[in-house]
Structure formats: structure tokens, C-alpha cells
């Protein structure tokens, strides 16, 4: 009796040790792909002042940049189950940023609302997650200049013939992600600094979802079965159509959102030089055509130039 109890305790301690080992392992090895650091003489970290004691110095010292991404938004960010690798426009951009910083990558995949609320507690350094710049978010996060501009629009079921413009959505059930900028747009409350937004949709009956995907699934069930329309990023809607969902995009994009790299404002170390370095990298990637190349590869069009607005 006594011996078997001892065995049980030993087994449990074994399990705990395993968890402990796994914990420490996961922090040292990035889960996904690792960016290959560029030659050290060209990178940001190579020329950074490591004695400054600020956030940039700390990150360069660690040799590791921790990106937050929400991998449920193809074609921006998703995880390919066949390869086990993250992929998408955001992932390409983040990988290139790490390369120009001269840092290895570690991915974290927090819930979207955890990300936009700020207060990251040093769990990850940067979000390259197609985040729209809004005044509320700017209170808790620093933003770089936009790295691209995502067109937003809506789709209806393939069989629908009655909804042909944004005005036709009045009184109809429209699916949208909850707590995202699209919901704010449909409610007429969306604010983006330096951009004027034309609220073309009025009086729609909103049905909110955790992400855009279930809304698209519900729309594909049939014309006005659960939803008459789904509001999302046009590339996301196009991705659903390419995957065989019976929906169609109506009209040209209603507005373009500026999407930027974000950094937590509540970080205890001074983030100014880090934000400036990231902003500079985004500017370079715009200038040398890197972002355009990524955009053409992912979206088939150049979304890195500000349109509309």
C-alpha cells in the first residue's frame, strides 16, 4: 500500500517536472517559424545603443522579438495545419520586421480583445495584427504609420437579388464581429484619426459574432436564413468565396481602414526609441516596395497605398 502510494507521488512529480521542463522550453524556442536575422551590420539592433536601458535596448539584448497575432484571420494571419506554420500578410510583414531588427521571432496568439485592451504585462512586445488605429486604442497603445489599408465591405448570399447597395441593408440582419471596428462602422460610431468616414449603412439589425468567420458561415446557409449580409474585410470575404462559400461581394469597398503595428503603452520601460525604430522600418518597407510585393502576393492587388478617405 505504502509503496504504491509512493509510486503515485513519484509519477505525479514526474508529470509536474515534465510540465516545468515544457514551460521553460516553450519560452526559449519560438513555436512557429524563426526569422533568419539579416547581416548584423545593417540591422536596427546592430546600431542601437544597448546601454540606453529602454525597451529597444532590452529587446535587442534578448535577441528575441515577441509578436502577437490572432491566427484566425486568413489571409492576414492563419496557421496552416498541413505545415504547422503561420502564414499570411501580417506574418510576412512581421517576419520582415524581425529580419530588419536583427532578431529571432517568438509568436504569441492572445485573444483579440486581450490584444486591443493594452496592458500586455510584457507577455509579448508587438502586435502586427492588422489593427485599425482608433482613438480608444491609441489611449492604451502606440501605433506606427499604417503598413496597409484594408478595404471593408459586405457580402450577401449568392442567391440574393434584392440587396444591391449599402442602403438596402436598412432593416436587414447583418452579421459582424463584436467589438471590432466594423461593428462601430455599422453603428455609425467609428472614428479614425485624420480620416473622414462616410457611414453608408444605416438602420441595419446587427448580429454580432466572436470573429467574422461564423458570420460568413451563417450567411452561406442560405439567403436571409440567419443573415441577409455579412460585413467584413473584403479580402476575408474573397477568401471565403475562394473556399467555396456561396456568397458574393456587393459593390465597391465602403471604406479603407489604416492598419498599423501596435506597441503597449503600459510597458514599464521607455518605448519611444522602439516605436520610432518600428515606424522607420515600416516607412522603409513602403519605400523599397517590400510591402507592395507582400500585398500583391497575398491579395493580388496593392493595398499599401491609401485609397478613398
Amino acid at each position: 500500500m505504502h509503496r504504491s502510494r509512493l509510486k503515485a507521488v513519484t509519477a505525479l512529480l514526474g508529470v509536474l517536472a515534465l510540465v516545468g521542463a515544457a514551460c521553460s522550453k516553450s519560452s526559449s524556442s519560438p513555436g512557429g517559424e524563426t526569422g533568419t536575422p539579416a547581416p548584423t551590420d545593417q540591422t536596427v539592433c546592430a546600431s542601437a545603443d544597448l546601454t540606453a536601458g529602454d525597451l529597444l535596448a532590452k529587446i535587442c539584448e534578448s535577441g528575441l522579438i515577441r509578436f502577437a497575432t490572432d491566427p484566425v484571420y486568413p489571409p492576414q494571419s492563419s496557421l496552416n495545419p498541413q505545415t504547422g506554420e503561420y502564414e499570411g500578410f501580417d506574418i510576412d510583414t512581421a517576419t520582415e520586421i524581425a529580419k530588419r531588427m536583427g532578431l529571432e521571432i517568438e509568436w504569441a496568439t492572445p485573444d483579440w480583445t486581450v490584444l486591443t485592451a493594452g496592458g500586455w504585462n510584457d507577455r509579448w512586445d508587438v502586435s502586427v495584427g492588422s489593427m485599425t488605429i482608433t482613438p480608444e486604442r491609441a489611449e492604451v497603445l502606440y501605433f506606427t504609420q499604417p503598413y496597409y489599408f484594408a478595404p471593408a465591405g459586405f457580402a450577401v448570399h449568392a442567391d440574393n437579388t434584392t440587396i444591391t447597395s449599402a442602403a438596402d441593408l436598412a432593416g436587414q440582419k447583418v452579421g459582424v464581429c463584436g467589438g471590432c471596428t466594423y461593428e462601430d462602422y455599422l453603428n455609425g460610431t467609428l472614428q479614425i484619426p485624420d480620416y473622414t468616414i462616410d457611414f453608408a449603412v444605416a438602420g441595419a439589425e446587427l448580429v454580432t459574432y466572436k470573429t467574422d468567420k461564423p458570420a460568413i458561415d451563417d450567411l452561406a446557409l442560405g439567403d436571409c436564413v440567419r443573415l441577409c449580409a455579412a460585413f467584413s474585410a473584403v479580402p476575408t470575404l474573397q477568401g471565403a468565396i475562394d473556399a467555396g462559400k456561396a456568397i458574393k461581394i456587393v459593390g465597391p469597398p465602403l471604406f479603407y481602414e489604416p492598419l498599423a503595428v501596435a506597441i503597449d503603452r503600459s510597458a514599464p520601460l521607455d518605448a519611444a526609441s522602439f516605436v520610432a525604430a518600428l515606424d522607420e522600418i515600416v516607412a522603409q518597407m513602403h519605400a523599397d516596395g517590400t510591402l507592395t510585393a507582400f500585398s500583391m502576393a497575398t491579395y493580388g492587388e496593392d493595398l499599401t497605398i491609401q485609397q478613398g478617405a
Binding site: 505525479l12 508529470v15 509536474l16 515534465l18 510540465v19 515544457a22 514551460c23 522550453k25 516553450s26 524556442s29 519560438p30 513555436g31 512557429g32 491566427p71 484566425v72 484571420y73 486568413p74 492563419s78 496557421l79 496552416n80 495545419p81 498541413q82 504547422g84 517568438e106 509568436w107 504569441a108 496568439t109 492572445p110 485573444d111 486581450v114 496592458g119 504585462n121 510584457d122 507577455r123 470573429t211 468567420k213 461564423p214 460568413i216 458561415d217 477568401g239 471565403a240 473556399a243 467555396g244 462559400k245 514599464p268
Partner: protein, 314 residues
Amino acid sequence: MAAHIEIQGGAGETRPPEHPLDAGTRLSFRTKVVLVWTGIFALLGIFFWLAKFDIAWMNRTFKFIITGVWVTVVIAIVSIFFAVVLALLGSLGRLSKNAVAYGVSGFYTSFYRGTPLIVQIFLVYLALPQIGSSLQDRGLIGSTLARYFVLSAVLAGIIALSLNYGAYMTEIFRAGILSVGPDQTEAADALGMSYKQRMRRVVLPQAFKVIIPPTGNEFIAMIKDTALVSLIASSIFWYDIFKRATVAGNHDFKNLEALVVTAGIYWALTAIFTLFQTKLETRVSKGYVRQAGTPSRKPGAKRLEEQSRREDET
């Protein structure tokens, strides 16, 4: 008594061949059950076919999703271990005459049973770091110590699951301890045993017979609740079955297929652990169940058993 019936039902092996329901039919009870299950599975197969799932995608992605099984199992096993410890302490507190122990355990069960698990997970994950940094701002702790308040998603999940299930199981443990008759306590007192000795040697060994079956149930429920942990954050190393299904389904617009695969995996997992549970229950109830061959289903048989057990022990 109630628990005893549960043990026999759970064991499922004590059903005698001459079951009364078999009278006058050519098919045995067991055969009939097999036929019913075959029918149900055929029906499920038809539903499956009607739903037009992309079977090829499910086959292709199965390996990616099932890779998360070990995360699910490790989180569940570590959490149930700490839940048992908390439940034992909690139940002793609930039965204690010490006002502090009674008060603390009373608040513990009330709060953790009264709030949603998902809220508790978010509280541990998000609120603890704020407390840590607030303490640091006030100069009460150093920055190294404050770092320990920032838990990883998995650790936060394990803590929340342990606390939540520990609170539920406190009541199970309390009932188990109370099921050991007062005569046992009196007898232990008469032998001059201390509280510790009485609990360790007399009360708890008998209480565990009552406690183990519902604890197994809690563990099986917990295996499925580990899915909630993936709602906060993690690196791909710590992706459990559910998180893997979510990202895989989103990658290819195959959410439904991914969820069906997940359901199958969770089902298989709980079936395996149910098997273990049955074995454990049989083992614990050994000595309380009549050997095969003797009729044990007569009314009052269990009461007789109980009596003879008492006689054996005293």
C-alpha cells in the same frame, strides 16, 4: 448507500446472465444493447453523410489537431491533482469547528462555484499581473517578484481549473466524509486517536470509497473544460485540441469539420478515462461487492453487506 449503488452501476460487470428482462426472449440483454448501439451509429453515419462534411480535409487535418491531446491531458491531470488537494482542505474546513477555516472554505466554495469558469480564467490571467505591478509601484515587492504575477496562459488555466473544480469537489469530499458514520468517529475517539490519526486511519479511507466515483466524473468534465484555456493565449507549443481545431478550421474555412473532429477526439479521450475510472471503482469497492455466483441483487443484500462489513471492522 447511494454511493454503493453508483459503484455497482459504474462497474457494469456485475450484471448476472439471467437478467429478468431476458425472460422469454432468444436474444440476451447484451446482444440487444449491441443492436441498439449499431442502430444509433448507423443513424449517426447518415447524419454525417447528409451534413456533407469534407472528409478528405478532416483526414488531412486530423494529425494536426490530435497533436494537441497531450496538452489537454497534462492540463487536466495537473489540475485535477491540485483540485483534489484543495477539495480535501476545503472539506475539512467546511467540517471544522475553527471559525477561520470554516469561514475561508465557505467563501472559497461560494465564490468559485458561483462564478463562471471562463471569468475565473480571465481573472487569473489578467488581474494578477495588475496586482503585481501595483504592489511594485508601491515599493512593496521587487520587479523580479512582480514578474511571477504574470502567469503564462497554461499556468493561469491550470490555477483557475484547480480552484474551480476544487470548490465543486469540496462538496463531494464533505459528503464523502459525512457518509462515514458517527460510530466510526466515536470508536476512534474511544481508542484515544487524535484528529489527524482519526482522519488518516479511519474516516478518510472509508470516505474515499464514496468520493472516487464522482471525482472521476469531475475529471471527465474537466478534460472538456480545458478547451476554455485556449481562449486566452498561448504559443503553438501549448495549443490544445480545441485551439488547434479553431486555427485549422479558420485557415481553410472548415470550422464545422474541425469541430466534428474535435468532438470525436474528446469523446474517445473521455471513453478511455471512463474505462480507467471503472477499473478504479471496482478496485476501491473490492471487499464490499459479493463474489460472482452469489446473488447480490436481492433486496436488502446491500444492507446485509454493510452490516457484515461493520462487523468485520469492529
